[in-house]
């Protein structure tokens, strides 16, 4: 097998087979890192207790609190109060579960706590060639390092806790080639919104995506994470980028990165991971980065996206009846008219955050555009760092002062208004420009209407109080 050219995905897959797929059973894969959080794990721990099972490898497991956690300011004791009784109960249960089963866990407000897909890379736990799972669909984020990483359900969380393995049928592979150079004001977020608009919200179902091409190679790790993060929004459980020097430089020196001789060995092994010349992909799509402009969604799934200068599609021009029905429904929910321009559309809220865009580089970009400017009257802007470490770094750089001076809210780390289960939510009918990953009906609060976009577009829109092309407010030093 090793003589045939293999893809990055196949190399990682092959090296984690505990038991090969048969006619009767799926392949059994070994899992190198299992991340757990409070929302999708309680029932899995219940299963372990019912069966009298232990966590097989707590040393390959890490917990953090992120989904149902408040992002409101700390009290005078330095504690983030959890006022929602249900959330408090869930967090208490999570603490007990991690303690009872010996799993290390980053509790709310502690120095390493944050969104599960932010902390893995931040700690250097996410490394090339690994298998990483979590009860969260945005686990695809970690694929940016050349890891095979995907979301699993709670039953599977139980399987991995108990056995450190997972049953899987081998997915197909899709090459996503993005060549060219991004223009100023156009970002990784615009690339992935462009790809999803192209393949559709189910276009990647059954595939693992490998992002490649000159535009991907020239992205930072944080940009690559933004792209891999939203693979699931195109239906693909996992997205990967071949590791290179950008990857190694990002990992080097982080708390869990290999050190000394082990580092040299690790890098040598990681260099063998990229897809071989001539490796076969089951499908291929391309996107030209030269032609890309800032993207925004207009509808109720991430596939309903368009260049920001465009107009909302007319359902009467839909290619199929199904498409027309879906568009009609989406536009009714969004309160938009066919052929309407989104530029200039008045907005109520701007959300900078989520596992897609809450890392330090996102906050730096946002702050650079906002410096010396104000959030428009009547607009609420939330800035939610992805982790406590991101928050501390931003504060060290004074970014929080820029946000606060502009009239934005500077909050504690967590998923916040991306999933809106912690009290951070839109009111019915409100419009938001959001850097998160989902614009589903009610996703950011019942009746709330979400336009997904990059941090630059979000900030530009906050300044003008309406959907704004960030290239209009471009800051030269951002080039």
């Amino acid at each position: 097998m090793s003589s045939n050219p293999r893809t990055l995905f196949e190399k990682v897959w092959d090296s984690h087979i505990v038991k090969a797929q048969t006619a009767d059973t799926p392949a059994v894969l070994y899992i190198d890192l299992h991340l757990v959080h409070e929302v999708t794990s309680p029932q899995a721990f219940t299963l372990l207790r019912e069966r009298g099972l232990k966590v097989r490898r707590p040393d390959k497991t890490l917990g953090t609190m992120d989904h149902s956690t408040p992002t409101t300011p700390r009290n005078e004791l330095g504690i983030i109060p959890v006022v929602d009784a249900e959330a408090a109960k869930q967090l208490d249960q999570f603490t007990k579960n991690c303690q009872d089963f010996g799993i290390p866990m980053y509790a709310l407000g502690t120095e390493n706590q944050g969104i599960v897909h932010v902390i893995g890379p931040e700690q250097g736990l996410t490394q090339p060639g690994m298998t990483i799972v979590c009860g969260d669909s945005h686990t695809s984020t970690h694929g940016a390092f050349g890891a095979l990483a995907f979301g699993i359900g709670t039953s599977e969380v139980g399987h991995v806790l108990a056995t450190q393995t997972l049953m899987q049928y081998k997915p197909k592979t899709m090459a996503v080639r993005v060549d060219g150079k991004l223009a100023a004001g156009v970002t990784a977020k615009d690339i992935i919104l462009g790809i999803i608009a192209k393949i559709g919200v189910g276009g990647g179902t059954g595939y693992v995506l490998e992002y490649m091409g000159s535009a991907i190679r020239s992205l930072t790790m944080e940009g690559r994470m933004t792209i891999c993060n939203m693979s699931i929004e195109g239906g693909a459980r996992a997205g990967m980028v071949a590791p290179d020097d950008t990857t190694f430089n990002y990992i080097a020196g982080r708390p869990y990165a290999p050190k000394g001789e082990a580092w040299e060995e690790a890098v040598a092994a990681w260099r063998t991971l990229p897809s071989d010349e001539g490796a076969h992909f089951d499908a291929e799509v391309t996107l030209n980065a030269d032609e890309l402009i800032p993207m925004i969604t207009y509808g109720t799934n991430p596939g309903m996206g368009m260049p920001i200068t465009g107009v909302v599609p007319d359902p009467d021009n839909a290619k199929t009846v199904d498409e027309k029905i879906a568009l009609d429904k989406a536009l009714r929910y969004m309160g938009l008219q066919p052929n309407e321009r989104l530029l200039g559309k008045k907005i109520d809220v701007v959300f900078i955050g989520s596992c897609t865009n809450s890392r330090i580089s996102d906050l730096r970009e946002a702050a650079r555009m906002l410096r010396g400017r104000k959030v428009a009257d009547g607009v609420r802007m939330l800035v939610v760092p992805g982790s406590q470490r991101v928050k501390a770094q931003a504060e060290q750089e004074g970014l929080h002062e820029i946000f606060k001076a502009a009239g934005a809210e500077w909050r504690e780390a967590g998923c916040s208004m991306c999933i809106a289960m912690n009290g951070d939510q839109l009111q019915p009918g409100q419009y938001a420009v959001s850097t998160s990953n989902r614009n589903f009906e009610g996703r950011q609060g019942k009746g709330g209407r979400t336009f997904l976009a990059s941090p630059l577009t979000a900030v530009a829109s906050a300044i003008n109080g309406c959907v704004t092309d960030p290239r209009e407010l471009f800051v030269p030093e951002m080039a």
């Binding site: 505990v18 038991k19 006619a23 009767d24 059973t25 799926p26 059994v28 070994y30 190198d32 890192l33 929302v39 999708t40 309680p42 029932q43 069966r51 707590p58 040393d59 497991t61 890490l62 989904h67 249900e86 959330a87 869930q90 736990l125 490394q127 060639g129 690994m130 969260d136 669909s137 979301g151 699993i152 359900g153 709670t154 039953s155 599977e156 399987h159 108990a162 056995t163 450190q164 049953m167 049928y169 919200v201 189910g202 179902t205 699931i232 239906g235 869990y256 799934n301 596939g303 199904d322 029905i325 429904k329 999933i419 289960m421 989902r438 589903f440 009906e441 009610g442 996703r443 019942k446």
Partner: protein, 202 residues
């Protein structure tokens, strides 16, 4: 787990494509630590007005579809999040099978592990089922997991795909964990021959 071999039930039509998990169960109902009671939250924002009164125009609120156990829905059903609360909620609402032309991967996996059958049929059969349910809510279909067929009221049998392992587990009422636990020696052998990548406990 209850054994599933064959059952007959009425069908409810929900011909909307790309129904995501946030519609199946909004995130604010995920602040729970068990699987019970989620049926009440299923499709909550489609079922109820802001003031909590039921929306009469939503198909699953209509009296003729109460008691339906088979939901026929548009393609890419269950896209979005990995929350297993989605199948738990659908089962809590009384559904035993979802029929569509295709499903999102994680939802399908989660459904199979809970005995909620994701039945993939061709587009034409899906449309036929939707029409039948809309014209006559008393219409029933039979799902025979042993034979891997869905039987329409006119007697036509449509074969549906399901992986052999899931089918075995469902027919025998066993969950999938037992199989993995039986591989302890293989797992230990794998661990012995592969260096640990990262250690979270140091």
């Amino acid at each position: 787990m209850e054994k599933i071999t064959k059952f007959t039930g009425r069908i409810a039509p929900l011909p909307i494509n790309d129904i995501d998990t946030d519609q199946i169960i909004p995130a604010r109902y995920l602040k729970t630590t068990d699987k019970q009671g989620l049926g009440q939250a299923c499709f909550f924002d489609w079922r109820y007005h802001a003031d909590g009164t039921p929306r009469e125009d939503f198909v699953l609120n209509q009296p003729q579809y109460q008691g339906a156990t088979v939901l026929v829905a548009g393609h890419n059903f269950g896209c979005g999040s990995s929350r297993e609360h989605a199948p738990w909620a659908l089962m809590g609402m009384g559904f035993r099978a979802i029929v569509s032309s295709d499903f999102a991967d994680i939802f399908r996996n989660n459904a199979l592990k809970n005995g909620l059958l994701p039945i993939i049929v061709d587009e034409e059969t899906k449309q036929q089922l939707i029409s039948l349910a809309q014209e006559d809510p008393e219409t029933t279909v039979t799902i025979d997991l042993e034979a891997q067929v869905l039987i329409l009221p006119d007697g036509r049998s449509v074969t549906f795909p399901i992986d052999a392992f899931s089918r075995y587990c469902l027919l025998n009422g066993v969950d999938q964990l037992g199989f993995l636990l039986s591989l302890e020696e293989d797992v230990a052998a794998y661990e012995a021959s592969h260096p640990q990548r990262v250690t979270t406990t140091v």
